[in-house]
């Protein structure tokens, strides 16, 4: 059976498998947003553009981090939400991208686009090298292996002193230059706009990917892998493709991190980063890209803003957020109003003294 070109029946089967699981509009319909969607998207864009004009420096820095984290969360969601491979290892590729971007900036080029290309290339290569191990497993075993990959990358970053300067971190990274002849970005507002532009581009690219036949196949992989395999898809190759794309996306986020912070240390790719990225996806709603971005916002806001107000106990608040999200919002923020209604009903019932199951 031909494996490169799926037979027409195969496409049919994918569509069937997907429709059963997700009551949403066909992702392959031509992109014709309705009025409400356009208004919401427009409002969000205006709000994002207005941030440096309205908010102070610290808030702009926080929003820059949120945007970067949203890109990382999209990477996690591509694997976890779309393809059904729960990952705790994306911080590794984030770190690879961050270090690759930083080394490029220091030794080679201050141009943002060059740094991004090198970082994404490094992330893709790293994912190609490690992915084949991870995608042999599914489910929790996949989660465990990616966690191990992440932790190993983290300790490697601390150990390879010659390249990464160990736990001291890489400093002295020159400001990122957007176009040849321009000056480096030092102003926090400009850096924000740079990150915003790249993040929106990444979002659009992922949206296009999800509407492509590849995106549909990845959903099919999540919903019914054995069926896909039975109709002749080499599912392993598709899982690896998802893994490599997600690795590149995480590395892109890493490169943005370098450009905005101008400092990289192993801590930036630690377990907590991976855990927070997964949390962002779960809080936002597994499988929804805008949910992942929203989740990233909630997570970073909790850690950096509320955490600071609560005298540095960010992790404590995050832990509570994890627990609450799991119990109260099974479908995440993107899960729609129905579960909120259900939550209110249950609260009212328990307030009225009825036994809650």
């Amino acid at each position: 059976m031909s494996t490169t070109q799926p037979a027409p029946q195969a496409r049919q089967a994918t569509r069937g498998a997907r429709q059963g699981a997700r009551p949403q509009a066909d992702p392959r319909r031509p992109f014709r947003p309705d009025l409400r969607t356009s208004v919401v998207v427009g409002a969000v864009l205006v709000a994002l553009l207005a941030i440096p004009w309205v908010l102070g420096t610290y808030a702009v820095m926080t929003f820059t981090k949120i945007l970067i984290f949203a890109v990382l969360a999209m990477s996690v969601n591509l694997l976890t939400g779309i393809t059904g491979l729960p990952t705790l290892g994306q911080a590794a590729y984030f770190g690879v991208g961050a270090y690759a971007g930083a080394l490029t900036a220091i030794h080679f080029s201050e141009l943002g686009i060059v740094q991004i290309l090198v970082a994404v290339g490094a992330g893709v290569i790293a994912a190609l090298l490690t992915g084949p191990v991870a995608i042999r497993a599914r489910g929790v075993a996949f989660l465990m292996i990616t966690l191990a990959i992440g932790e190993i990358a983290y300790s490697a970053a601390g150990q390879l002193h010659g390249i990464t300067r160990g736990t001291d971190g890489l400093s002295g990274i020159p400001p990122v230059v957007v176009a040849p002849g321009m000056e480096g970005l030092r102003n926090q507002g400009y850096i924000y706009y740079y990150v915003l532009a790249v993040a929106i581009l990444a979002y659009v690219l992922v949206a296009i990917l999800l509407r492509s036949p590849l995106g549909l196949t990845l959903r099919g992989l999540r919903d019914n892998e054995s069926r896909l395999r039975a109709v002749g898809y080499r599912t392993g190759s598709y899982a690896l493709a998802a893994y490599v794309i997600a690795g590149g996306l995480a590395a892109l986020a890493g490169s943005l991190w370098t450009s905005s912070q101008r400092f990289v240390a192993p801590g930036d790719m630690g377990f907590q980063v991976a855990a927070l990225a997964l949390l962002a996806v779960i809080v936002g709603g597994v499988g929804s890209m805008w949910g992942a971005c929203l989740g990233a916002m909630v997570v970073i806001f909790t850690r950096d803003y509320l955490g600071q107000m609560a005298s540095g106990h960010g992790p404590l608040l995050l832990g509570i957020l994890f627990v609450l999200a799991v119990y109260l919002l099974p479908k995440g923020l993107a899960g729609g109003p129905r579960q909120w209604g259900g939550l209110l009903r249950r609260l009212r019932k328990s307030a009225a003294g009825e036994v809650e199951v």
């Binding site: 497993a137 489910g139 377990f271």
Partner: protein, 281 residues
């Protein structure tokens, strides 16, 4: 070598709990490293270098483990049928909270717990000097490993537990309350982890991020050994103990890659781990 064996047996006491809880209850417990940390801090707080101190620490540590395991099992229970992702998020959240509380109570430093004074010295065997505590630890943990193995593979309770793994409904139909068994396994696994913490505190000292290191090492062991298998956990732990210790001693720069290489090798040969039980994730 001896260090590797000691570290490997320490990993076994940790990993076997994780492996069983997942193999039996189908629960992914990412707060497992936190249980080790709880035990290690208990040892730090109670163990004062005397035998009595160690004994008290062990008893308290076991209590902490049973209690912690029971609480975790109760916390995860409402998530039945919701998939592993939610379990992962919940247990991660709990581990974040508890780690932060430890941080507040015990400060952010890496603390050293004192082994009993009688075991603090070192002895010379065949021209090499070994810390006495590690040798004793190997003995104790070896006995522990043997007991766990016998309890699961040879006793009637172990048979019941294994039956529950194989076919929960059938065991329930025979009039056994499977929920009690599952709770028991969770508490048992957790108690092993805290006990590992109490005994292992002089080897792997309590401090921030130790819970994550322990969790990752246990996960690697479980991945290599196969989920839900006592034998697999033992073999995987000894293997990883050697790789880690020799790697750090001989090729410190590449030690993390050696760990990954070992995992890669085993998975390439047997994707389901060395001794997988019927259940695969």
């Amino acid at each position: 070598m001896i260090d590797g064996v000691a570290f490997g047996l320490l990993l076994f006491t940790l990993a076997v709990g994780l492996s069983l809880v997942f193999g039996m209850m189908d629960v992914l417990n990412l707060a497992h490293g936190t249980l080790y940390l709880a035990g290690a801090y208990t040892a730090y707080a109670l163990s004062d270098g005397s035998w009595l101190g160690l004994l008290i620490a062990i008893v308290v540590g076991l209590l902490v483990g049973v209690l912690g395991g029971g609480l975790l099992a109760a916390a995860v229970a409402p998530l039945q049928g919701r998939g592993h992702l939610d379990q992962a998020a919940l247990t991660l959240g709990i581990s974040f909270i508890v780690a932060e509380i430890f941080l507040m109570v015990f400060s952010a430093e890496t603390l050293s717990a004192a082994p009993p004074a009688a075991l603090a010295g070192s002895i010379t065997v065949l021209g090499y000097t070994y810390p006495l505590y590690r040798l004793v630890f190997i003995g104790v943990a070896g006995v522990l490993a043997a007991l766990v193995y016998l309890a699961f593979e040879r006793s009637s309770v172990g048979a019941l537990v294994r039956a529950t793994v194989a076919d929960r409904d059938m065991v329930r139909a025979m009039g056994v309350d499977t929920r009690k068994i599952l709770f028991g396994v969770f508490a048992f696994g957790a108690a092993l982890a805290t006990l590992g913490g109490v005994l292992g505190a002089p080897i792997l000292a309590p401090g921030p991020h130790v819970d994550q290191r322990v969790l990752v090492l246990s996960l690697v062991v479980v991945v290599i050994g196969g989920l839900g298998s006592v034998r697999g956990a033992l073999l995987g732990a000894l293997l990883i103990g050697q790789v880690q210790t020799l790697g750090v001693a001989l090729l410190p720069t590449y030690a993390p890659f050696l760990l990954f290489g070992a995992m890669l090798f085993v998975l390439a040969v047997r994707p389901q781990g060395l001794f997988a039980t019927g259940k695969t994730a």
